[in-house]
Amino acid sequence: MNDTPKIDKLYALSSEKKKFSFRLPLSNRIRIGKRNYVVQLKGDEKYGTYILWKNRRYPVEIVRSRQNKYEILFNDISYTFTVETPFSLQRMKVLSSGKGKAEKELIKAPMPGKIIDVPAREGSTILRGETVVILEAMKMQNEILSPVNGKIVRVNAKAGTNVMKDDVLAEIKVE
């Protein structure tokens, strides 16, 4: 049973909320105006890792990568992006368009895997340390616990489905 939806696009959101969208499968041709330009990630002894673009080398470094968040050093400037699928982006929008003021805690999948059980019920209260979902990954069952006391306002996780790392499983309104 796999209902992973078809993903045809990815979005890289900058820390200033700029959105860059890339069609899947990810191509190394980027269209600027009417022309396609080839972007290549390369590395060698002399230059280390670099991106080749329009006949120019740009030094790049992956400073940090955590879940879907990447800090990239590109030509001596650091950029931070979170990479979202159309679905996680939609969820983000829904979540952020909500009541806004109340502090929310997003319960995210710490690793890709399969949802085994979802003890959390929408509308019920939950205490810190109680189980939100049980996620199976690498043949181990992992209890994903609530880090806060609050009310469960949304449950996205469904037993038997597969999730990606960082997918939002549930949302808790902190009380």
Binding site: K6, S14, F20, L41, Y47, I72, I77, S78, G113
Partner: protein
């Protein structure tokens, strides 16, 4: 006694700079190996290396007068070059060298002392008729006296440490109510930094340009100037970019300021290379600020436009030779710009960004000179300054120099730490920098960000983040599904198969 062997009481690029000239002159050099940088690049330029790497003292050997003298004597060096920073402006060190029959390549201890003490320097300048910002006669004892003087000369005023330099112990006061607090801060800062709490006050010149003159004087009383450098691009009094000449000066003003610079140098019988710093206001009034009694970081821009090797001149003068250059021999040709490429994070307010240099390659075009003490594998350590390299670019005029600088900046390749490169990439495209109307307030007032930004570069970085996301998620999904049916292939895996990376 002629100089036969020089102990380099310094490290990094300036040590190399000095050793290159010494080699050309047939003079042997001794460099010091330290525990902090046992494999530093400068060591390979020396004829002899004195191993001091056993010394694990907190204080760098380059600040240890007694040790340096002992090393000079032990290694048979009959001269010492202090470079810049460390003991380069210590009258005590210069005197100790002389006491031990070692030639100090620099001015006399007396000149160092007088110019190092700002109140003495101020008095000397006043006596010689050098234009100065109005201010206190000497040091001031308390904030009440400071307020009295400030009322007389008008606000804003600047409080400065008598033994100061490098921006420490300086505070601007805009109204009387601020005086008490600022006086205390400046005085405490001065005591901490220079072991001397005494301060004086001066009229604060708003938004000036920083113009300095290169001086050469010999022991026979001949003193000339080699034109000016403009160092207005500075942040918190730390220079970032220097150029020679300055677009704010014409021949007439250059002659006038140059004569004043020579006059102040004469007041202390200056013999060696030195620098007289002035502030130039928008009405082209100039004011003596201070004299630096050493070779400066930014000396290469003067060398480029005059064709004179300043270190060679220092060595010849220290040898007792008469200056062969006359004022009329000095011709300024073309334009030179120096960018200080430091290991600093321009996105975090120029915070030091120490680390190991993994890759470094610098442009080798004929309009570029690079002074560096850093090579692949070198570490930028927090015990020393953050300089990686000085990129010195020339052109037939300022416009061409800026254009060349823009190209050269894109050819610099440094990996391992963040650098000030993005700042310079922004600067060479800035209208105010290009038209020359910038002042020392430029960075604080005229820039809203400190680094070059391009939409394309951000887009490419976003592409890279996406690329990584695709790869990582593919791998992990794959692992977690080892046991799963292969027909459950995720779109990630399909992507991977299609896009060869």
């Amino acid at each position: 006694m002629k100089i036969a062997k020089i102990l380099i009481a310094n490290r990094g690029e300036i040590a190399i700079r000095i050793m290159k000239t010494a080699k050309m002159m047939g003079i042997r050099t001794v460099a010091i190996r330290t525990a902090v940088e046992p494999a530093a690049m400068y060591l390979s330029f020396a004829d002899e290396v004195f191993d001091n790497s056993e010394d694990e003292s907190e204080i760098p050997v380059f600040l240890n007068v007694e040790k340096l003298i002992a090393i000079a004597l032990k290694s048979g060096a009959n001269a010492v070059h202090p470079g810049y920073g460390f003991l380069a402006e210590s009258a005590y060190f210069a005197q100790k060298c002389l006491d031990n029959n070692i030639i100090y390549i620099g001015p006399s201890p007396d000149a160092i002392y007088k110019m190092g003490n700002k109140t003495i320097a101020r008095r000397l300048a006043l006596k010689s008729g050098i234009p100065m910002a109005m201010g206190s006669e000497g040091n001031i004892s308390d904030e009440e006296e400071a307020v009295r003087i400030a009322d007389k000369i008008g606000y804003p005023v600047i409080i400065k440490a008598a033994s100061g330099g490098g921006g420490r112990g300086m505070r601007i006061v805009r109204k009387a109510e601020e005086m008490e607090r600022m006086f205390t801060i400046a005085s405490k800062e001065a005591e901490k930094a220079f072991n001397d709490p005494s301060v004086f006050i001066e009229k604060y010149i708003e938004n000036p340009k920083h113009i300095e003159f290169q001086i050469l004087g010999d022991s026979k009383g001949n003193i000339i100037h080699l034109g000016e450098r403009e160092c207005s691009i500075q942040r918190k009094h730390q220079k970032l970019l220097e150029e020679a000449p300055s677009c704010a000066l014409d021949a007439g003003l250059r002659k006038k300021m140059g004569e004043m610079a020579v006059r102040i140098a004469k007041a202390v019988d200056y013999s060696s290379a030195g620098t007289v710093e002035f502030l130039l206001d928008s009405e082209r009034n100039f004011y003596f600020m201070e004299m630096n009694t050493r070779i400066q970081v930014e000396h290469p821009v003067t060398e480029v436009i005059t064709g004179i090797d300043l270190v060679e001149q220092q060595i010849r003068i220290a040898n007792g030779e008469t200056l062969k250059l006359k004022q009329e021999d000095i011709k300024l040709r073309g334009w030179a710009i120096e960018c200080r490429i430091n290991a600093e994070d321009v996105q975090a307010g120029f915070a030091p960004s120490p680390g190991k240099i993994e890759k470094i390659s610098m442009p080798s075009d004929n309009y570029v000179r690079v002074d560096t003490g850093i090579q692949e594998g070198s570490a930028i350590v927090s015990s020393y300054d953050s300089m990686i390299a000085k990129l010195i670019v020339s052109g037939k005029d300022r416009k061409e120099a800026i254009r060349n600088c823009k190209m050269a900046l894109d050819k610099v390749w440094i990996k391992g730490t963040k650098t000030t490169l993005p700042f310079f990439r922004l600067l060479v495209r800035n209208q105010k920098f290009i038209d020359g109307s910038f002042t020392t307030a430029f960075i604080e007032k005229d820039l809203d960000k400190y680094y070059f930004y391009s939409d394309y570069e951000e887009m490419l970085a976003a592409w890279l983040a996406t690329r990584l996301f695709v790869d990582e998620n593919l791998q992990e999904t794959n692992t977690s599904r080892d046991a799963a049916n292969s027909s459950e292939m995720s779109p990630w895996l399909l992507n991977k198969r299609i896009t060869q990376f």
